[in-house]
């Protein structure tokens, strides 16, 4: 049988489009519904993060890291302060480490909730999105209780955290976890195991492991392709080596390993693992002063460092070069969503228009982080 070749049409998805997760423009060449070529154009949200960093002091960088990945600000702060502390050789108190891990994992849950919810929205399920936002609100309430801000926290500082935990934090946090754990099953019943959802996601947008590694895809997307790689386990930073948790991997339960469903499913499983980590951290939370090791002046020694941490989207790396002055010489942020999006043109080719949206959603990109 010959191949029918119709006229091709160039279609612009975005920059204003309901499901590009920000201001992303995809130039898509389509043959009917089939997408034959896809070219992402980014930069609509470019805010010169790296240029800014060269003009502010080290502590003033932290509010800017918040705004890079605004869905998981805590993790961005975390990555920055861990890198800075390694550069300055600060050993922070135990309590700070535990608080940071709790906050980072809570934010991971919040970020995954948003990712899963909007993914549901991308494939047309509206209700799970609102359920997940409802629960995300509760996490934000906990953050507000802790540091006063709901979205952009500026909570973790080099050498400590900005506020100690509020009285009663353990009870509130455990209360939330107890409330939240059964909800995961409800989401699974409502969305994950839904046959229509499976049809839309399983076997769609397969990202083979070697391609994923070559594209530098990391985090849940890489684990969805079945590569066991988690910075928390493999290059433990902070105190992650003390906690027991699994690294969920994509198994191709309903399709091929590395399809959109696997990426989705890894996120669902990771929420459960985060809950485990938080429970352990709260159990062992020591007392202490959280402001003890905050340096009066941040003046790291001359040198450079590259450190990566596990943000909800993957390997978040900071490359910091110091020339001994109070302002950084260069801060480079290696954002996980940037590499994930660069793989889109590879994996979304040849799928249908609706699948491109679904694949884009499954990569869980945040444009704030890509454009910086």
């Amino acid at each position: 049988m010959g191949v029918v070749q119709g006229d091709q049409m160039v279609l612009n998805i975005g920059p204003q489009h309901p499901s590009t997760h920000g201001v992303l423009r995809l130039q898509v060449r389509t043959d009917g519904e089939i997408v034959s070529e896809i070219k992402p154009y980014i930069g609509y949200l470019h805010r010169c993060f790296e240029k800014h960093c060269e003009n502010v002091t080290y502590e003033q960088v932290i509010p800017f890291t918040d705004r890079c990945d605004y869905i998981a600000s805590m993790n961005n702060n975390f990555g920055y302060v861990v890198t800075m502390e390694e550069l300055m050789e600060i050993k922070v108190p135990e309590r700070v480490e535990y608080i940071r891990v709790i906050m980072a994992e809570l934010n991971r849950i919040a970020s995954h909730l948003l990712a899963l919810g909007t993914y549901g929205l991308d494939v047309g399920a509206f209700t799970p999105f609102l359920y997940m936002f409802r629960d995300r609100e509760r996490i934000l309430d906990i953050f507000e209780l802790t540091c006063g801000a709901r979205l952009l926290y500026n909570y973790m500082w080099v050498g400590g955290v900005s506020h100690d935990l509020p009285k009663d934090f353990e009870r509130i946090c455990i209360g939330f976890l107890d409330y939240f754990e059964p909800k995961i099953k409800e989401y699974n019943d409502l969305l994950t195991h839904n046959k229509i959802f499976l049809e839309r996601t399983a076997d769609v947008g397969v990202l083979p492991p070697d391609v994923a590694i070559s594209f530098g895809v990391s985090g849940p997307n890489l684990r969805g392709s079945g590569v066991k790689w988690d910075v928390r386990k493999d290059e433990p930073y902070s105190i992650y080596d003390r906690f027991e948790f699994e690294i969920p991997l994509g198994e191709g339960e309903f399709g091929t390993v590395g399809d959109s469903f696997d990426r989705y499913w890894v996120r669902v499983c990771e929420m459960k693992e985060s809950i485990k980590i938080i429970r352990q951290a709260i159990k062992n939370l020591p007392d202490g002063d959280v402001f003890q090791t905050i340096p009066k002046k941040i003046r790291p020694p001359k040198g450079s460092i590259y450190r990566r941490t596990e943000s909800p989207r993957g390997d978040l790396g900071y490359y910091i070069i110091s020339d001994g002055s109070p302002k950084p010489f260069r801060v480079k942020m290696r954002s996980p969503a940037f590499t994930a999006l660069s793989s889109l043109s590879e994996i979304a080719q040849g799928w249908m228009l609706s699948d491109v949206i679904a694949i884009l959603g499954s990569l869980d990109i945040v444009l704030g982080e890509i454009d910086r």
């Binding site: 070559s214 450079s304 590259y306 260069r330 290696r334 940037f338 660069s342």
Partner: protein, 165 residues
């Protein structure tokens, strides 16, 4: 493998390519730019090294008169070791071979570094600006960068003047 061993391997394989520089830390290795593509291919394909993941490409401007640098953070999923490659480039003519076809992620990373520093990656198939508009002037992250005055008739504000007084 430790970074020392990796350096040794590189020196054996490509004599003269590794530059000894005391300025750099243990984990870093400075290379000459001319053989970079071959070295990169070797780094990726050699079973002993097998750096299959390019973590990050960072451009650095070392100062008004210093060279530009392109730094590559490599990581091996198999051996779990890593190395940072530094390549210094001449400021007036910053050109280095593109490793975009070795590690696919290099595509966007190199475009970004090109966009910010004007480092030209030779052999890159699609070297365009990625974050700035395509007709933007200058290389923003260079230390001697000066903002263009207008962009398509829009005045580019430089430093915030106190216009809100």
């Amino acid at each position: 493998m430790t970074s020392k061993e990796i350096k040794k391997t590189l020196d054996r394989q490509f004599p003269g390519s590794v530059i000894e520089n005391v300025d750099f830390a243990e984990r870093q290795v400075e290379l000459k730019p001319d053989q970079w593509l071959e070295i990169a291919t070797f780094l990726k394909n050699d079973p002993g090294l097998s750096f299959d993941q390019l973590e990050c490409v960072t451009g650095i401007d070392t100062g008004e008169d210093g060279p530009l640098q392109s730094r590559y953070n490599l990581h091996s999923m198999e051996h779990r070791h890593k190395i940072e490659v530094v390549i210094s480039l001449d400021r007036s003519n910053p050109k280095v071979a593109s490793i975009e076809q070795v590690w696919r992620v290099g595509d966007w990373f190199e475009r970004e570094t090109y966009d910010m520093f004007g480092i030209i990656y030779e052999g890159h198939r699609d070297l365009r600006r990625i974050l700035c508009p395509e007709d933007w002037e200058g290389w923003p992250l260079r230390k001697d960068y000066e903002t263009q005055e207008t962009y398509h008739g829009i005045v580019v504000s430089k430093i915030k003047e106190e216009e809100w007084e």
